[in-house]
Symmetry: C2
Subunit: 178 residues, 2 copies
């Protein structure tokens, strides 16, 4: 069970929902997993090739279009479950925003406030998008929907916390300047 990049998990996972081409895979990932995941072609195609060599996916004939459509095999499904069970070792934190704020005295109050406003705006926009997705998802009766919903409520919870923190922090900095 060699630990391979999580790209494999994302690819097999997406194919477990529906067979598709590498190109469509990218679109599906950026579209549906976009707010917490990302893959580039430079990852997807090699990952697909390896997965095919390992027998986790197979090409299904598709006279219709150019390119090939991949579907998950039985052992691919097993592999996916195993990958999902592997512990998630989170990537080392590197938060450029907090790094800047930490040295805020060198950066200056005005620039810090501007950073915080950006956060507030981005978080608020994200909230609107998530609420839309939540509404769509609530209407589905697919058995996988409740799980996918968790990723949306996570996004909402964190975005709301960020927005409120940014607002609060702006007032704090404003008072400190007086």
């Amino acid at each position: 069970m060699a630990k391979r990049s999580q790209t494999e998990t994302a690819v097999l996972g997406a194919l477990s929902v529906e067979a598709m081409s590498g190109y469509a895979l990218r679109a599906a990932i950026t579209g549906t997993l976009g707010h917490f995941w990302r893959e580039s072609f430079g990852q997807i195609y090699p990952a697909l090739a390896r997965a095919e060599a390992d027998g986790y996916v197979r090409r299904v004939a598709s006279g219709m279009t150019s390119g090939s459509v991949f579907e998950l095999t039985g052992s691919g499904d097993e592999r996916l479950r195993a990958l999902l069970l592997e512990p998630d070792e989170p990537t080392p934190p590197r938060n450029g925003l907090l790094l800047r704020l930490f040295f805020g005295r060198s950066l200056g109050v005005r620039a810090c406030v501007s950073l915080l406003r950006d956060v507030e705006v981005r978080a608020s926009e994200a909230l609107l998008r998530y609420e839309d997705v939540r509404a769509e998802l609530a209407a589905e009766d697919d058995p996988g929907a409740p799980f996918r919903m968790l990723t949306v409520t996570y996004g909402i919870a964190v975005a709301r916390a960020q927005r409120d923190w940014a607002r609060e922090s702006i007032t704090v900095l404003g008072e400190a300047r007086d």
Copy 2:
């Protein structure tokens, strides 16, 4: 103003607080910036060497210990301000937890709940640590303290959101199983 890795920002920033060796730099970064930043020796030493070549830092004689202590030069301070002003381009999101939950139907309810419990525990522990730091920081009257405080309140806000989301999600999954 070639865009170099943010390591340079972290290193110059830390040296703007106090002159120190590469080794101490690492300890300072993991200790103080630890909850949102990380650097390894493999980054720090090359970064210091480049910064010295560029005239941003200089070695100060230190008969006491082995090794050399670096301090920020005037142009290093300028460079730091410029780096802090550069827009923060956040790293592409890759949240292994959400990836697993998204495919939760393949993973199984029990494993999902276990993931969520981990989140709850980790977030709760983090909250305790942050509250300690907050108390310490509130006692300081250093002019940089309010800025550093922002990074702590951010940690608290996000950790609290994660903890509450995890709890809520555990009940949701529990009900769904019935």
